[in-house]
């Protein structure tokens, strides 16, 4: 009996563990989680609580930026050096974390064409928008009941022929 039970227990445990590993590999703990990547991320950027990074909309205040959204719009309008690039159309999204001190890090970029397919934008255009996004320094620290939190934020740039048309959200 023992000869049958032991392999059975081993097999069941192994199967259960391998299934959990598969499941955890399929999805992050939460959709959109950005883990630290030593190859691209600033090691000096810290989040206060790695296990509890909220989404910007969780605080019910929309985008939290000093001077509100028009400051972001005006900043990119004034600063972005984007010459016309015929055929460069679609949406460039930059997602990042605003930490509990209002600093930003772990930037990730995703390009998308007008048909919602992944698209690699011109490198100079991408670098320009990424660099400017990294320099935004008016993010407001998210608070709830006087406690400060880290949160994910994104900016989506609508691009037509290489020109910046609109910024979301």
């Amino acid at each position: 009996m023992k000869q049958i039970l032991l392999p059975l227990i081993f097999l069941t445990t192994f199967y259960s563990c391998s299934q959990n590993v598969q499941e955890s590999e399929k999805y992050p703990l939460h959709v959109g989680d950005i883990s630290f990547d030593k190859d691209v991320d600033d090691p000096n950027f810290k989040v206060c609580n790695e296990n509890r990074v909220f989404q910007y909309y969780n605080f019910g205040k929309g985008i939290q930026y000093k001077g509100e959204k028009p400051v972001i719009n005006q900043y990119f309008k004034d600063q972005a050096n984007l010459p016309e690039r015929i055929g460069e159309n679609g949406f460039l999204t930059i997602r990042f974390i605003v930490n509990c001190e209002g600093r930003t890090g772990r930037f990730r970029v995703q390009g998308m064409d007008a048909d919602y397919k992944e698209k690699k934008f011109d490198k100079d255009l991408t670098d320009e928008l990424l660099s400017l996004t990294k320099q935004l320094d008016g993010w407001i620290v998210a608070t709830h009941d006087k406690e400060k939190f880290d949160y994910y934020q994104y900016l989506t740039f609508k691009i037509e022929n290489g020109k910046l048309i609109e910024i979301m959200p």
């Binding site: 959109g32 019910g60 979301m168």
Partner: protein, 270 residues
Amino acid sequence: MTRAVLILVFLPICVYGQPNCNVYKLKGDSACYHGCMASNVDFGQGSRQSQLQFDKAIELCPTFDYAYSEKAVPYLKQGDFVTWRKLIDKAVELNPIGQLGYRGWCRFQFIRDYKGAIEDIERLSSLTRFDIGYSINSDYHLNVAKALCYKALGQKEKAIQIMEKQFSEKDYSPMTYDYLHLGVLKMETGDNDGAILYLNKSIAYNDYMAENYYYLGLTYKRQKKMKEFKENMEKAKAYYLKGYKRFDPYTSPLDKIYLSDIERELNVAN
């Protein structure tokens, strides 16, 4: 009687929201009943468990569009529109009448894909002879959302026509922002009297929006009525500071104003 019961049972799955799994039970579709039930446990939107639960629901019931559209939501809210689109397209493929209006609305609200939103809403209209319904956040009738897309594309007269037609529909009850948008459109197309009429209607309907006074002020400014211009801008500022303003936790709605907009106009007025 049987027909009436069937309509009542099916109704909740036609309108958007948590599905009524008993629909499948009554049809004797055990796999989809269990798939539907699996999707009804709340693990927290976007969590691994939640996403796996929708996978399980889809595995059990591959035609269950709700599981695809709900699995898609966290990607939409977090700006991953590529993944969102793959999932929502599957939901639309399975249930075009139930999902097209939702996809169209999201394309407008989150992505400002005005042409795409119009396509979806118009395709929905072509598929049903019934009312096409409202945006998922209940702010707009989908025809008004379509009108706003035309406005964003520069076709303001067409936007006005669509709105006026919708507002004149029998049994249509105005939504919170309807008159504001029509008032702004009137102002932008040079119809100052129309703008004043609809912005005042908007105030009568919902006097909790700085936007009403801001655009009313702008209209008076166009008419060179500087006293009314200033009064309305001051009121807009007071309302804004009290938190009486257009707000959406996810995006910046069309015709929304900010404090800097009001202060810029007050500088002109003073």
